[in-house]
Amino acid sequence: MTTDAQDRPDFLALVLLLPTILLLLILFVGPVAFAFYLGFTNIRLIGPTAVHFHLNGLVNLHHLYGDSLFWLSLKLTIVFLMVSAIFGVTVVGLALALLMQHAIAWLRAAVGAIVVVAWMLPPITAALVWYAFSTTGGTLSLLGGSQLDVLNTFPMTVVCLANIWSTAGFSMLVLSAGLRQVSSEVLEAGRMEGASRWRIFCSLTLPIIQPTIVTNILLVTLLSLANFSLIYIMTAGGPGNATDILPIYSYQQAFVFNKLGYGALLGDVVVIIATIFAYLYVRMSRSSRLTHA
């Protein structure tokens, strides 16, 4: 790109890039920065401090530290991400991708279509489908032959399953693409050496697709962290606070209890968690590009 570049500064290029930069600064980077500022103010949704708000030092941070619901919410967020994203979606996605490899053609097409459609559905539809599936009188409760309210009895389990259901298709596609990079010569060589299938999987396939698995875990974690709608529509964080992950708790504090400032601070914690995973993702995709080059 720089080899045939002219010597003079390229003003036209900057002009072409300007709309993108301005839009991102005003409606993306700006809001994130503003959220950090609001997190340290006494702003409320209604009342006198809705307009005339000011920085109130570390009051919000102090409140956060002593807020047992925040610590519960942080714990629930970690459980949700660990169980559904890092473990559930990845394992189900990998299992599907592996099973697809040697499946009967029509079965592969049918199951693939179902799993991918589950992933394509808009978040609200996925949430509705799972609400109907697990609420009193829904399919799950009838399977047990009772009127059990599965959603309210095992809320975290159900929202984790719903998240796995609606994201596994993505994971399956990513990992299938990864499995295609495993050359048949390598597997054939393993077979010649008399290695069992399990051995071939552990010693050859897994190491080769490991970067894809790590990238997939990071992407799915970010997807799950951003999936506000699913839990909000299914349980709204309840019953009690059983599924009150941070994005939901932040929304409630801001728009239900009118504490915009405190809600913004809770959102900042989400940004910090997302930043860690996004940073790892950027590092992964850069290093993998270097090795492929």
């Binding site: 290029a13 072409l16 890039l17 709309p19 993108t20 839009l23 005003i26 409606l27 993306f28 700006g30 994130v32 503003f34 959220a35 609001l38 559930g88 099973l99 040697h102 499946a103 009967i104 079965l107 097409a109 049918a110 199951v111 693939g112 179902i114 589950a118 559905l121 808009p122 978040p123 609200i124 539809t125 509705l128 489908v129 109907a132 599936f133 399919t139 990513v174 693409a177 295609r180 077979r191 299938r197 399990w198 999987f201 992407l219 970010l222 997807l223 951003a226 506000f228 709608s229 909000y232 529509i233 994005p247 932040s250 929304y251 915009l260 913004a264 989400v270 940004v271 930043t275 950027v282």
Partner: protein, 295 residues
């Protein structure tokens, strides 16, 4: 789930491929084949089970949350494809159109500049943009609400612009990458013909990079179409309500009409599924939605 994953390979692990007679080997192969396909079928049934209610209830005159054989009717679909239901879908369409226009136009010019022109720190900029694709939109809602409320922007159009910008990092990434693949000679030839930069972008670069631009458009459209929290918080006019908010209202109403909810969700979801099918051929090798990190 570990058992599911482990059971298939371990079933074969007891039967190594070495010197065993060809008979045992083929019986082990057959067993692995049957177990593998059986497990895949089981996954298919588990994934289909929650969806079944949606299809049955949508054509059931007496639908409830329960899965039951429908008393067939199309009344639910007729009910949800008129009046304010249809208006809400049209609002969703307008919202998605604004978002798509904003992100695609900006990303096409920006992608061209980053791909073809000398921009200081362009590599660092691309890393920053890739990083932005990982930031969840939900956390920007409070500050954007604060600014929009102050300047009377709590409407469909401004929300569309916000959603467009939230798709912009990924759209820019897609378009820049697809333009990188366009041979430079094409543009150099056009420069010889004294074409200006906009003519070159429109007549040379855009047609060749069209698949990437098309993917970016569809990504932005789907992202806005499926968005729930931004229109819920940022649109205050009841006449501008979008599809997802309407569905939430249906679920929460005093007299829940289950058949309508199911039918409306299907009508609302179908465009997204069609667009996905257009953009990605998941089983023929192409996978273009790699970094689609949006909720």
């Amino acid at each position: 789930m570990t058992q599911l994953l482990a059971s298939q390979p371990s079933a074969v692990a007891r039967m190594p491929f070495e010197p065993a007679s060809s008979d045992t080997r083929s019986s082990a192969e057959i067993r692995a084949y049957v177990i593998g396909n059986g497990l895949l079928g089981l996954f298919g049934i588990l994934f289909l089970a929650p969806l079944a209610w949606l299809f049955f209830a949508s054509v059931d005159a007496n639908a409830t949350w329960a899965l039951s054989w429908p008393h067939f009717t199309l009344a639910n679909f007729r009910q949800v494809t008129r009046g304010d239901f249809l208006e809400a879908l049209f609002n969703t369409f307008l919202l998605s159109l604004v978002a798509t226009a904003v992100s695609t136009v900006a990303a096409t010019f920006g992608g061209y500049a980053l791909s073809r022109r000398r921009i200081p720190l362009s590599d660092e900029l691309m890393v920053a943009i890739l990083f932005l694709t990982g930031i969840p939109v939900a956390i920007m809602i409070i500050p954007v609400f604060q600014v929009y409320a102050k300047y009377n922007l709590l409407n469909l159009w401004a929300t569309g612009v916000f959603l467009g910008v939230s798709s912009l990092p990924f759209a820019l990434w897609l378009i820049k990458t697809s333009m990188d693949a366009v041979p430079k000679e094409l543009e150099e030839a056009a420069t010889m013909e004294r074409a200006n930069v906009f003519q070159i972008i429109w007549n040379v670069t855009v047609p060749v990079a069209l698949p990437g631009i098309f993917s970016a458009m569809i990504f932005s459209f789907i992202n806005a179409w499926g968005s729930f929290l931004p229109p819920l918080v940022l649109i205050s006019d009841p006449d501008q309500v979008t599809g997802p908010i309407k569905i939430l209202g249906l679920i929460g109403s005093a007299d829940v009409r289950y058949g309508d909810i199911a039918a409306y969700s299907i009508v609302y979801s179908i465009p997204v599924v069609i667009l996905y099918v257009l953009v990605s051929k998941p089983f023929s090798g192409g996978f273009s939605m790699g970094g689609a990190v949006k909720g």
